[in-house]
Amino acid sequence: MQCQQLLVLYLFDSALDSKVVAWSRWDGCSDQDHYAGEEDRPPYPTGLDALKDGWRLIQMNPLLPPVKGDEYTTSVLKYEFLFEKLGERVGG
């Protein structure tokens, strides 16, 4: 059965070759689960390194101008890049 592996990288800024500051992984191809807080080193130094390793970029955040009156409010991470690999499911 074909399955999908997802890698979400949060980069320093909107450039794909900027450094990874946060990351998440979901693997639909195996039974290995990834949990919050269990990895201290990112899988790649930059988004471009993931691309070079065969990850397909399928979405990046839109660049939105600051909202008037809310220019200095910080909230969620802004520079989110979603990658996928397609594979064959192994295990249960």
């Binding site: 949060y10 949990y35 807080g37 990112p42 910080t74 909230s75 991470l77």
Partner: protein, 311 residues
């Protein structure tokens, strides 16, 4: 409450709280109390939360947990001092809970910010976390993201984020107590050990203006004025006063928003100092330059922050 019963924070500790969103007191609570609490929790099992005192939200802190084991924790001079320093002496109960993470847990709690979106800009709550037992790496101690407390999010909106550069998983000796800003991003870890992990959490709210409540005997206007340095100087550790570098210390996970975090820290620091004009480096002054038709940059003689003029 007598002053001798509380050890107020100093300015450096409060600056650390502003920058990191927490303070940690390791091995603070005596082992006898830790063991008594663990015995109580083990005996009560799943009913432990029905056996801790029930207080209505808004109950004065001074009336909470009286004549209970947990009173020894929250009335410890250093914890009471931290509470008085950050919330004042009239703080009130919000809620409390004993968190149990069972052995061989199959998952970790997602990253989240407690409660809901909190739009308050002139007030903040604190959460007291008491770890009665030694927490090892395999026990999945509370994970937190230092410096995330000023970000406005809605509870588990951030659950998608699994890992951050610089994230911290609490591994600590028994009797450790942490004091958290209510906005700090955190989550319980996966307990892969064969022991239950216990953590008691108490949330308190202020009822007064949270300005200059700590021991300000180390603070004067001359010191505050010296924090305003040419931009980027505050983060240099070449100054005798550690406060500017504490406030300007960036977190490894900071992205392009990092400078906004520094601005928000300065705004928070202004709130705590009761000084709407102070600055660290030049982050706020630049934005305010010319706004009111008058330079916001004041000489030390013009500066007034309500603290002693002399050392």
């Amino acid at each position: 409450m007598e002053d001798k019963e509380s050890a107020l924070l100093n300015t450096e500790q409060v600056a650390h709280f502003v920058a990191e969103g927490l303070l940690c007191f390791e091995s603070l609570i005596p082992e006898k109390i830790n063991q008594e609490f663990l015995c109580f929790a083990e005996e009560a099992q799943e009913e432990v939360n029905s056996k801790i005192p029930k207080h209505l939200p808004g109950t004065p802190f001074t009336e909470c947990l009286r004549e209970t084991l947990l009173e020894s924790v929250i009335r410890h001079p250093r914890i009471q001092g931290a509470i008085f320093s950050l919330l004042g002496r009239g703080s009130v109960f919000d809620h409390h809970h004993v968190h149990i993470t069972y052995p061989k847990s199959m998952t970790a709690q997602h990253n989240h910010q407690d409660s809901t979106i909190d739009p308050r800009e002139k007030a903040f709550d604190i959460q007291i976390l008491y770890f009665p037992q030694r927490v090892t790496a395999s026990m999945g101690g509370t994970r937190y993201i230092p410096g995330s407390h000023l970000r406005k999010v809605h509870e588990s909106q951030i659950a998608r984020y699994q890992n951050f550069l610089g994230q911290v998983r609490v591994c600590c000796p028994s009797g450790t107590v942490m004091v958290l800003h209510h906005g700090l991003w955190h989550g319980g870890g996966r307990n892969t050990s064969d022991r239950k992990r216990y953590m008691y959490k108490l949330r308190l709210q202020p009822t007064e203006k949270q300005s200059l409540l700590w021991d300000t005997s180390d603070l004067n206007e001359e010191r505050i004025c010296k924090w305003r340095q040419p931009i980027f100087q505050g983060s240099h550790n070449n100054q005798k006063d550690p406060v500017p570098s504490i406030l300007m210390r960036k977190q490894p996970w900071f992205d392009n928003e990092g400078r906004l975090e520094l601005i928000n820290r300065i705004k928070f620091w202004r709130l705590l100092l009761g000084s709407p004009e102070m600055d660290v480096d030049y982050w706020m002054s630049r934005l305010e330059q010319g706004q009111s038709g008058k330079s916001p940059v004041k000489s030390p003689q013009e500066h007034s922050v309500g603290v002693r003029r002399d050392v």
